[in-house]
Amino acid sequence: MTHSSKNTAETPHGQHPKGFDASFMILATICLIAAIGVAWTKSPTDVVRISLESLGFLALLSPKIFCGFFIAAAVPILIPPDQLAHWVGKDSGPRGVVVVSFAGALIPGGPTMIFPLAANFRLAGASTATLISFVTAWNLLGVNRTVIWEISFLPIEFVTLRVLLCLPVPILVGFAAHRIFR
């Protein structure tokens, strides 16, 4: 790692998981058990067939994944996290809850981007209610995840229903938390 770029090395936005950490090992173990299960109950050739199909599906999704990664990489350059945190930290009332609900849904990136960003918000003075709204919005309504993954696997009517039902939740949760923890 001799050439880590400056604008990502210093910001929480730029932290990424290592390729082979604990959660990867958990996943790999589950994969192995599932492979043995399929080989045992069906046949070993089914394991090969499913693996190849999955790789084909990954290839099909790869342009979308690449675009998603690119957008996620570009957002911290366009909107510096410190500036965003400063902005969020200043307004910790109900209006702040609405603003971070949108931010949580729209800011692309996985947990290793979002949680450090939320920690930054807290350092900048954001309230617990604001942080709960932000994390809930990202959990339930993260656009990147829905567009890249959810609609690739699930029927569009299912996804639409789920998203519509979840739409008000981050704001309602934030208001509730704001009342409880004022």
């Binding site: 990502t8 675009c67 690119f70 949680f115 709960i132």
Partner: protein, 163 residues
């Protein structure tokens, strides 16, 4: 079809972002980050998609229909929530499993509850990432405020399906 539309939307958005980045050095910085993301995520993606395919193959239709099907009611929602918490983070696994379960006869409301429980409380995500950056106090507070959501939204979906 969903994949084509999603690819087009993200492609256009990426093109717009490329334009917005303006300078070449910004663009190079973004591409460097993308390379790093690919390196750290590719092994995970490959394993996760294969796992999802294998697990979907193993889902037993009769058990899925009985415990997560249209007549499973509140029990179905509760089971779905527990399964959601136990599913590891990373979108592909949970979405693929939900799709497999729907095909095997699971009801839409229970699968919505499953995905909401996974997205909010997946233990691997909470322990591996949220705990480190935001701490146990925040997690407890967040869980105290948001724990009924999967059941509540699943319940509303169930009510809508009956209405």
């Amino acid at each position: 079809m969903n994949i084509v539309i999603g690819t087009l939307v993200l492609g256009l958005l990426a093109a717009w972002v490329w334009q917005k980045l303006e300078t070449n050095s910004h663009r190079q910085d973004a591409l460097r980050t993308v390379r790093r993301m690919v390196r750290s995520n590719l092994p995970r993606l490959v394993i996760a998609l294969i796992t999802a395919g294998l697990l979907a193959e193993l889902l037993p239709a009769n058990i899925v229909q009985h415990y997560l099907g249209h007549t499973s009611g509140l029990n179905g929602l509760l089971i779905a929530c527990a399964l959601g918490m136990l599913t590891p983070g990373g979108g592909f696994v949970s979405f693929a499993l939900a799709a497999g379960a729907l095909k095997a006869g699971a009801a839409t409301p229970t699968m919505i509850a499953y995905l909401l429980a996974w997205s909010q409380f997946s233990l691997t995500k909470v322990i591996a990432e949220e705990l480190i950056f935001l701490g146990p106090r925040f997690i407890l507070t967040r869980v105290a405020v948001t724990f009924p959501i999967p059941l509540l939204i699943g319940g509303i979906a169930m009510w809508l399906a009956q209405a």
